[in-house]
Amino acid sequence: MAMKSGDTAHLYDGKTVRSAAPSRKKLAGTASSTGEIPKDAIPTVEIPTFIESLLGGPLVPKMKFLPADKMVQNLQLGCYGVLIALGILTYIVTPAVGTLWFAITGSMAAANILQLMVVVGAVGTGFWGTMSRDARFMLTSYVLFIVSVMRFASSKVSLSQDLFGFGDSQFMLTVLVVIYAVLLVMYFELSNGVLRFSMLDTSIRTREVYVMNVKKIIGKYHRSLVINPIIAGSLAMLVLSVNTILPAFVSLFSEQTALRMEESVELISVYGVALGTLFVFLIVGGLFALDLPTHLQSWRENKD
């Protein structure tokens, strides 16, 4: 509704001035010298973007973090350490052969350079994301790490650099891959922890949250950071050692079959890993199906 500046005659048209003042709620949206609707008169409706709805919230937290406290700084340092180790291991366990770059360029050198760039990019964005506590860079880093490991590989693990001769020992190769996987998950957790504890610290310092006995709560997290990777690594080792465990079990019944299984290419390949995973998680699934965690918890809660 365009109106001349200062002309208020329209406000009186058809109105009896001596009656009560007209509703200003209505007029707030129309009466101005320029005829524009004041911004305050329009209710703001926030519609989340596609990414936001996918992640369940904004990618960039609206909460501004206060400078990192000691706990967050320690986590950041831990994260840097894990990131360096992960970068090196990623480069070692993901040779350029079988990568998308190799398929596109057909050149080993170019694929090597591109693969190295992806790994360096993952480490760099990870560093920056952890330092600036910015989830966007962290997410980019996660994606780059996952991209770097996506290769059309042969079933057997191969290394791009084998300075210590790990390639000769199947067990050492398995250990290397498990350490790599654990480090990757630890990196996910630590970088996430940097954000979580920054949020917690900011909430404490802005008095939004009060924490009773902070040391005990942080201690629990620290213990978990040590215990969980060990358990995850051990169980993963168990799963990946299916080519030795299964034959050992079968050897109780038939030595011959056990020997054949031990030498079977399938069992030491990715399918062997899958088979081991299936076994382990069938057992875990069974425990959950029996609602064992609840019974266990119930027993622990109610014991005298």
Partner: protein, 437 residues
């Protein structure tokens, strides 16, 4: 319950596992296995908590409680169940853990949005030992009148990595009432001209047998010699007598406009807030003077409190004012028609309204004046509230202000004591302005 983090990790692991099989890539499968183990371990032994790891706040409860929270209980105690606006309520929340396991709990005691935490915190992360209890103390500041309820208490436990959590709402509620703030009035200049005989009589603004001095006048035959003012006689040379105010009790009727339009403006500064505060202050003042006070609020219905005296009446009025909600659009004429047969002739009537969106105001107040009621209108100007809040531009403000001034002049012409009550003006000043003092 799965958090966003665990759901994303789980999906990633499944995707990597399948992709690993497709690409025959054992690294991908290994990563998936490690993630699966992480998730399984957290799900199996995740009875302890961390804060906000899932990115979900405690209020987003969706009802999965679990065994670990079944032995947690809460009780709450308030320092007072009735306070005035801007007053504080001390809250003591008692959390008990009846189980044999220590727990790290995230506790949030839900507080109404309009309230501010003044001291302490209602959101606590704590370690609660086996069969132990703890007390959480905090103070809330209540800036706005109304009926409020504290609770429920939201409790959450999570695994250290925030992958899974269990939540529970403890349905512990405590209700309390926030009365409108009152201003101390020294003298309101509102007194009835019609006496009403009651025990515990007070002054009305007419001369008569009483104790308070009213004025001096010349001596007439029949006047008591005791009332002669000898000093005035000495000064003027004429016999002068002291007149005293007649002692009586007045009926005061307070009419509060609580229509939807009365809440125009910011939450803490609008006509309804000012009107309720003024009504509370006036009720306290008149009841303190042993007058009889009645209250009528009109919104989508007309609610009335019968005239009465005493402290109990003050609480009844304050409670009604605390619960006055801005809704509906009943015209003042309807209120006048309804109450006119029931009020004593000449009773002072005080109307608290922003005078907006009601074409019957002039005729309604004319009806009162025609029956010789002493009408005072205090009109909190919501124009000013909106202009101050920058919701109204200068031109719009000027136009509407002119319209409002015209209306006020018209009402003044009817003999109504009216005051355009600006936001920063004290009630006593506004009253004095209305009565022409």
């Amino acid at each position: 319950m799965w958090s966003r983090k665990s759901a994303m990790l789980g999906s990633l692991a499944v995707a990597m596992y399948l992709l690993g099989l497709t690409l025959r890539n054992s690294q991908l499968v290994t990563i998936a296995v490690v993630i699966f183990v992480f998730l399984t371990w957290a799900a199996l032994f995740g009875s302890h908590a961390d804060v906000s790891a899932s990115g979900r706040r405690a209020e987003e409860w969706s009802g999965e409680e679990g065994v670990s929270l079944s032995n947690v209980s809460a009780m709450r105690k308030l320092s007072s169940a009735r306070i005035f606006e801007d007053g504080d309520v001390g809250v003591t929340l008692r959390m008990q853990n009846h189980s044999a396991l220590g727990k790290i709990l995230e506790v949030k005691d839900r507080v109404p949005e309009v309230m501010r935490i003044k001291d302490g915190a209602n959101y606590i992360l704590m370690e609660l030992g086996p069969r132990r209890e703890t007390f959480i103390e905090y103070t809330v500041e209540c800036p706005l009148r109304g009926f409020y309820s504290l609770g429920p208490v939201a409790v959450r436990v999570q695994d250290p990595f925030g992958l899974f959590h269990k939540e529970k709402e403890l349905h512990v509620y405590n209700d309390f009432l926030v009365f409108p703030k009152m201003e101390d009035l020294k003298e309101t200049f509102v007194k009835s001209r019609v006496p009403k005989i009651f025990t515990g009589a007070v002054n009305i603004r007419q001369p008569g047998p009483g104790s308070e001095f009213y004025s001096l006048r010349e001596y007439f035959e029949g006047d008591s010699f005791r009332s002669i003012n000898w000093s005035a006689y000495a000064r003027s040379g004429k016999l002068m007598v002291n007149e005293r105010e007649r002692d009586a009790v007045s009926d005061i009727i307070l009419i509060v406009d609580s229509r939807a339009v009365s809440e125009t403006g910011p939450v803490s500064r609008n006509a309804l807030v000012y009107s309720t505060r003024a009504a509370a202050s006036l009720a306290k003042y008149f009841l303190g003077r042993r007058d009889s006070v009645g209250l009528i609020t009109y919104s989508d219905e007309v609610v009335s409190v019968d005239r009465d005296t005493g402290k109990k009446q003050l609480y009844v009025i304050l409670t009604k004012l605390a619960g006055a909600m801005a809704k509906g659009n009943i015209p003042l004429q309807v209120v006048v028609n309804r109450i006119l047969p029931h009020i004593n002739k000449g009773s002072p009537i005080i109307v608290l309204s922003n005078l907006e969106d009601d074409p019957t105001i002039v005729s309604a107040l004319r009806d009162f004046r025609a029956r010789d009621f002493d009408v005072t209108v205090l009109s909190p100007s919501s124009l000013e509230f909106e202009f101050d809040a920058k919701r109204l531009d200068r031109t719009g403000y000027e136009v509407l202000k002119t319209e409002r001034d015209v209306l006020i002049s018209e009402l003044r012409g009817l003999g109504v004591n009216i005051m355009d009550w600006e936001p920063d003006m004290l009630l006593s000043t506004a009253l004095a302005g209305a009565r022409g003092f």
